[in-house]
Amino acid sequence: MTDHTILRVVSKFVLPYVLLFALYVQFHGDYGPGGGFQAGVIFAAGFVLYGMIYGLTAVRRVAPERVIEILIAVGVLIFAGTGVLTMLLGGNFLEYGVLTPAYPASGQHYGILVVELGVGVTVAAVIIAIYSTFAGRGRQ
């Protein structure tokens, strides 16, 4: 799409806001509508837009397949790792209250933030991986 100047310029202009909005949805999910899944989808949408305008090679330069694959795993590990941490602190799996024994409510707050971050990372990475797999079909 090298000759579509308007698309190229506008998408470049919009991209930072897409990613920023994703982060807003991610970290505001505990108070407003949103959360890890929605944030991950929006974040990945930024990459899909970038890929559609600038091509798959450009996306893979920013987000190499191997890195994306590892991020898929890292998100799950963040989620389940939080659960293991609460177990090591003497609670049940994912019992966030034990993170801050003095005031369990704030531990539950931290816990859900971290867990949602894990969801966000995995969802974003999976969607980028699906896009890049389908877009890259027949190239190898």
Binding site: E69, I70, I72, A73, V74, V76, L77, A80, G81, G83, V84, M87, G90, G91, N92, F93, L94, E95, Y96, G97
Partner: protein, 499 residues
């Protein structure tokens, strides 16, 4: 150390699920074949260790519960292990560990080297799902774990990269998704009526609304969905190709565990949640299941006789064996249920072992066609001897595990006064004799095919696990305290219903 031991003791139910769950993404990060496979094997054996500890505890103190996230039962998600669940956990994790130990050599041959870490990830996820189904006390959680197990097994089947594997996996995906959707709709309707997803709570509240049409619709959706998942005749069409064209290790694992866990779901829903009285006395589920089970046994066994591809033959035989399990359940008596439940276990051992032996054949012959297998008994005596042993179990010869199952089933039939069913059961064994004998005869008594002449015995790394599993079928055919004994306790627990 004491502190650690007591912590692990309290957390056993959740460890059963999260040990393989955490290990799955780690496999992607480790990536290197030399690291991933030993790691995954250790994890599987650890999961087996947890299930042994769980079963011991359950047999000692009765059902144990675990509150996820510390939220109390009807509101939070609860894990609940009783005798039936612990029994299923034990053989699923045990066979999972044994098959993965057997897998590395066969993977080199059948799965491109770059995908071995993905194989381990998917295998562990599938194990996670199957174990999760058997441990959870929450209806929606059952669906989630069901999807984890199913989605990863679709990918596992397609992983070999053989052409026929792709349509087989896709067909399984379509049918499996229909099944899962039906189950989800059923659960949704039940939730709508009772406002709870906890099994114990649901069993408590259902009687008040059981007269309503929504309850009947939910029951119908669930029955059909579960029947699809466990490949009950005539909803079995996805199974033969999926088992036949998957990589050998995948066939062995899925054939041994996945339909069994679906039968477990049937038991859970129909007995524990809806209750014996509603499912069987009021709606007559037994009268619906029995003819289907018997038809499945005869039709699938007959079709199996005419298969050239021996993995496909074993797959059809699996459909027939699901019939035996469902037949036992359809009696809805202690003996019948014991027969059905013990057959879950016995058939898992037998069919897992048989598919593992077929993996050895695949490794050396690069084919599982009956004609190519002519005379293979001379080149691979240990493999084929193991196969024959498993075959005897399928027929139900005394002193094999299969005999124990059929013994209970026939006893249950006679208790109910249905001599006809007992006779049919005996006749069906003759069909199994035919399809087993066909392979044994070809392998031992026919002139070796060209490929069979060049074949060598399978490597020890594959033979030993195969023999362990098939040896176990003889062990449990003679010494039944830990198979039929536990199954009896599980059957009693199921008939008693939830507290």
């Amino acid at each position: 150390m004491n502190w650690l031991a007591s912590m692990v003791g309290d957390q056993l139910p959740v460890l059963q699920v999260i040990v393989p769950l955490l290990a799955a993404p780690l496999c992607i990060i480790l990536r290197r074949r030399s690291l991933v496979l030993p790691f995954a094997i250790i994890v599987c054996w650890a999961a087996f260790g947890v299930s042994v500890a769980l079963l011991r505890e359950v047999l000692e103190v009765g059902a144990i519960t675990y509150e996820l996230g510390g939220w109390a039962a009807p509101w939070g998600i609860e894990y609940r292990v009783d005798a039936l669940g612990a029994f299923v956990l034990l053989f699923v994790s045990g066979i999972g560990a044994l098959v993965l130990t057997y897998a590395p050599r066969s993977l080199i041959d059948e799965v491109p080297a770059g995908r071995h870490y993905l194989f381990c990830t998917l295998y562990l996820l599938s194990l996670t799902g199957l174990l999760g189904i058997a441990i959870t006390g929450d209806l929606f959680n059952v669906f989630v774990f069901l999807e984890i197990a199913a989605l990863s097994s679709y990918a596992l089947i397609a992983l070999g990269g053989r052409r026929q594997a792709l349509p087989a996996a896709f067909q399984y995906l379509v049918m499996g998704t229909i099944g899962a959707t039906f189950i989800l709709i059923g659960i949704g309707l039940m939730y709508q009526m009772t406002g709870t997803l906890n099994m114990v709570d649901m069993a408590d509240r259902l009687p008040a609304v059981e007269g309503m049409r929504t309850a009947l619709v939910a029951f119908g959706f669930l029955t059909v969905g579960i029947a699809l998942k466990m490949a009950l005749f005539p909803l079995h069409v996805w199974l033969p190709n999926a088992y036949a064209y998957a990589p050998s290790a995948v066939s062995a694992f899925i054939a041994a565990t996945s339909t069994k866990v679906s039968v477990y779901i049937l038991l859970r829903f129909m007995f524990s949640v809806f209750g014996l009285e509603f499912s069987f006395e009021h709606l007559g589920l037994g009268r619906a299941l029995m003819p289907l089970a018997l038809a499945g046994i005869f039709v699938a066994s007959t079709v199996a006789i005419f298969q050239r591809n021996i993995k496909r033959m074993l797959a059809y035989s699996s459909v027939a064996q699901v019939g035996y399990m469902v037949l036992g359940i359809s009696f809805a008596t202690a003996t019948g249920l014991t027969g059905g439940i013990v057959h879950l276990f016995n058939h898992a051992l037998i069919k897992g072992g048989l598919f593992m032996a077929m993996g050895c054949i695949m490794l050396r012959l690069h084919s599982v066609d009956l004609d190519e297998m002519a005379g293979i008994g001379r080149a691979m005596p240990w493999t084929m001897a193991a196969w024959a042993l498993g075959g005897l179990g399928l027929i139900g010869v005394p002193a094999t595990a299969g005999f124990i199952s059929k013994w209970y089933l026939i006893q249950a039939a006679l208790e109910q006064g249905s001599v006809l069913v007992a006779v049919l059961l005996l006749l069906s064994s003759l069909l199994a004799l035919v399809y087993v004998w066909r392979v044994v005869e070809t392998a031992f008594f026919r002139e070796p095919s060209e490929r069979a002449r060049e074949a060598r015995e399978a490597p020890l790394s594959m033979l030993v696990p195969t023999w362990v599993l098939l040896g176990a079928t003889v062990f449990f055919g003679i010494y039944t305290a830990y198979s039929a004994g536990v199954a009896e306790q599980a059957a009693e627990a199921v008939l008693r219903g939830l507290p």
